[in-house]
C-alpha cells in the first residue's frame, strides 16, 4: 500500500436518510437533554468536580508532543467523535496524560505487565512500528481506515510488527488498558452522559421514577434513530477480544457487588 490516502468521510451514517451525521453538538437519542443544566440541584462538591472536568482540560505534561499526537490519533479511532462538532469533542488524551503524570492507577498491576507509564510508551512505539512495517509511513500519515486496521490487529491479538515490544507488553492487556482509559475519559464527561441519557448526579434531589425506565420530569424521553458506522470503519461490529480468555482476567471490574 502506498502513501495515497484519499480523504474519506469518517462520520457515521443515518441509515434511514443515508446521510452522514454531524458534526453536531450532541449525538445520541436524547436531543436537548443536559445533565449540566441540572447542576444547581447537585451538591457543591460534585458540582465542583464535574465542572472542573469540563472547564479545566489539563495540559500535556507526561507525554512528549510527538507521543501525545500519536496517542490522540489512536484515541480518535478508539473513541471516534467525528459526529461531534469541534467545540463539543470530549478530551481524551489530556485525561490519560494527567493520570500518568500523577502516576495514578487502580491499585494493582498484572505480574506480566510493566507499570502503566511504561506500558503506554511501549505501546505507542509498537503501534508506530506496525504502521512503518505495513505502510512505510507513520501512524499519523496513514488514513483512518489504515489506522483502524492496525488497532483491529491489536484487538485480535495479531499485530504484524513490534514483536520485541510485545514480549514485554501482553497485547491484550495493553489493548484493554488503552480502551478502558479512553472509555473512562469519555464516559466520565457530562456531554457523554447527555448522549446516552444517563441522569448523572442526583444528590440531594433524588430519583423518584425508578421503574419501567421512566424519565424524571427533568430527564428526556428517548428518540431513537437508526445509524451505522462510517463505511471507512471496521470498529462498528462486535468481535471478541483475542487472548482475552476468561482465565486472563479482565479490566472491567470496577465497582463492588
Amino acid at each position: 500500500m502506498n502513501s495515497q490516502t484519499e480523504r474519506v468521510d469518517t462520520r457515521p451514517v443515518n441509515t434511514r436518510t443515508g446521510k452522514p451525521i454531524g458534526p453536531i453538538s450532541q449525538p445520541g437519542y436524547y436531543p436537548g437533554f443536559s445533565t449540566l443544566a441540572q447542576q444547581k440541584f447537585w451538591d457543591a462538591k460534585t458540582r465542583e468536580v464535574v465542572l472542573d472536568r469540563v472547564i479545566n482540560v489539563p495540559e500535556i505534561r507526561f507525554f512528549s508532543q510527538q507521543e501525545a499526537r500519536l496517542l490522540e490519533a489512536i484515541c480518535d479511532r478508539i473513541l471516534p467523535q467525528d459526529d461531534r462538532d469541534e467545540s463539543h469533542k470530549i478530551p481524551i488524551v489530556p485525561q490519560i496524560d494527567r493520570r500518568l503524570y500523577e502516576n495514578s492507577h487502580d491499585g494493582y498491576r498484572y505480574e506480566d505487565m510493566p507499570p502503566d507509564r511504561e506500558a503506554f510508551q511501549l505501546g505507542l512505539r509498537a503501534v508506530e512500528e506496525i504502521a512503518q512495517h505495513e505502510y512505510r509511513l507513520g501512524f499519523l500519515e496513514i488514513g483512518p481506515r489504515e489506522q483502524e486496521e492496525i488497532l483491529h490487529s491489536l484487538h485480535h491479538g495479531k499485530p504484524s510488527a513490534g514483536h520485541e515490544i510485545w514480549k514485554q507488553l501482553p497485547i491484550h492487556r495493553f489493548w484493554m488498558l488503552l480502551v478502558s482509559d479512553c472509555a473512562d475519559a469519555y464516559y466520565s464527561h457530562p456531554w457523554a452522559w447527555d448522549e446516552i441519557g444517563f441522569g448523572g448526579p442526583a444528590y440531594p434531589r433524588a430519583y423518584m421514577r425508578l421503574e419501567r425506565g421512566e424519565a424524571e420530569p427533568w430527564e428526556s424521553e428517548e428518540k431513537r434513530y437508526q445509524w451505522k458506522a462510517p463505511d471507512s470503519s471496521v470498529s462498528g461490529v462486535f468481535e471478541p477480544v483475542a487472548g482475552q480468555a476468561e482465565h486472563l482476567g479482565s479490566p472491567g471490574q470496577g465497582g463492588a457487588h
Binding site: 491499585g107 494493582y108 471478541p240 472491567g252
Partner: protein, 560 residues
Amino acid sequence: MLGSIQRIESPMRRFSEGEEVDYVIVGVGAGGGVLLQRLARAGFRVIGFDAGPFWDTERDWVSDEKGAHNLYWNDMRITAGEHPLAFGANNSGKGVGGGTVHWASFTPRLHPSDFSIHSTDGVGVDWPIPYSDLKPYYELMELELPVSGPSYYPWGDPHGYPYGPHPMGGVGDALIRGCTNLGIGVSAGGPVAILSGSRANRPHCIYRGFCIQGCKVGAKASTLITHVPDAIENGAEIRPNCMVSRIHVGATRRVTGVSYFDSDGRACFQKAKAVIVAGYSIETPRLLLNSACPGFENGLANSSDCVGRYLMAQAGNVVLGRFEELVRMYKAPPAHALTEEFYETDAKRGFARGFAIQTVGPLPMSFAKQMMVAKGAWGWGLRSVMMDYNHWAAFGFLGEILPNADNRVQLAEEKDRLGIPIAKITFNLYDNDKKLIEFGKNKTMEVMWAAGAQEVVQEARYAHLVGAARMGDNPETSVVDQFGRTHDIANLFLCDGSIMPTQGSANPGLTIMALAARAADYLIREGAAVFKSEERNTQKPPIRRDLSPPDTWGHGMPRI
C-alpha cells in the same frame, strides 16, 4: 459531617505520645469499626489506626464515578496466577469505614451449611463454630446497621428484617420477572444495609444509585456512620492517614505495640497491651509477614505457614441483558433484589456448593468497560452500544470459590512509597470452582433471557475477598482461634474477613461484623487477662446486647 445531618458532637480523645493503651486496632473498616465501638463502650483505652482519611462525607464525596477513585486502596499490588484478581475499586477500601464506605451493602447471612462443608460435602474446611454461635450476632448487626428486607427471608436459617424492603428499580424488576418465569424464588427489596425509613440522624434512601461511590445521603450503612461516632463518644481515638508498618514483639513473645507512619510520613511508635489487626485479606497478611523478626522469621503468627494462604474471592460474573424497553439501571441502589435458590449443594449439578444471583447497576464508565470485555466493543461499536445504555440491565452472579493453600498473599520485591514491601497475590481456579462458575453463569444468563432480554452477554470477574489468615481449632492448619486470637501470640488478634475459613455465596460484610461483635464479647469477658496471661479461655462469652450504638433498640423488631 457524616451524611446530610449527622454530626459527631463530642471532641475526640487524644492519647499522648508514649502513653500505653489497652488495644490498638489496625484498620477501621467492617470488622475494626464494630470492634472499636464495643471496646470503647466497655471502657477500654483503644486507638483505631486507618491508612486513609477520616471522611467528611459532604465535603469529600461526590455523586460521580470517576471522582470516587480515592475511596479505594490504590497503593500498588501485584496480581498473578492463571486467574489474577483485580483489586482497588473491586474489593478494598482506604479510609475510616473501610470497604463499607463503598460496598453495595447486600447483607445476607451465611447459611448454616456453610459452617461444615468439609463434613457434609468433603470440600474446603469446617468452621470452628456452628451457625448457631454466630446467629445472635447476625441478629444484633441487622438491628444496628440496620438491614432492610422482606419480613420473611426463606433461605438458610429463615428470618425477617427490621426495616421494610426497598421499592424496585428496573434491574430488580428484571430479576423478579426472570426468576418468576422460571419458578425461582426471589427476594425483593433486600437484604441491604440501606435505610428504607429515616432513623435518628440518618435520612432514608433517595434512590440516587451512587451507593458504591459512597453514600452522601447517610442512608447506606458504613461503620463510619453506624459505629465510629459511638466509638468516639465513648472515648476511642482514631488516627486517620496513619499506615502501620510493623507489629513489635517483646522478649516474652508478646506484642508490645506498632510502628506507623503518621500523616506527615513521620515514623512513630504506639505502645499497646494488645494489638488487633483488621486490615482485610491483603493488608492483614501483608502486615503479619512484614513484621517478621527473630523468633518469628516467617512473619508473626505464622508457625502454621497459613498466613497469606487460603485466600478466596467470590466468582462475580456480570451478566448483562439488553431489553427492547427502557431500564435506566442507574436509578435505585445497585443492590435491591436477589435469589439464593441455588446456594446449597445439589449433587445433580456435578459440583459442591452453589451461588446467588443479585442485582447490580453499573454506571456508564463501568458499563463501557463491561461492554469492551463482554462484546469486544471499541470504536463505533462502543459508541453505539453505549447509546443503548438505558436499555440494559445487569445481574451479578455470586459463586463460592473453595479455599486452596496455593491461592495466597506473599511479599513482592517491590516496595511502596514508605519503603514497605508490597503484596503479591497469586490466584487460580480449580476444578470445582470452574464447574460452579460455568453452571452459575449459564443459569444467570437463563434468568436474564427469561426476563425478556433480546441479547445476553457476560463478563468474567471476581468479587469480595476473604481468607488468608483463617480461623480453626488446630494451630497447625490455621492462624487464629474462633475468637480471632492468634495461636502463636496470646495478645495478638485478627478481626476481619481474612479469618473466614470459607465464604459461602453471601456477601461477606455482615459476617465480618458479626464475627467482630462476637470477638468483642470475648475480649470484654476476658478483661485484663488478655494483657498478661497466656491462658486461653475457650468458653463462649455471654452475649452483650447492651453495647449497641444508640437508637438500635425499639425500632422495627423482626418477628421471625
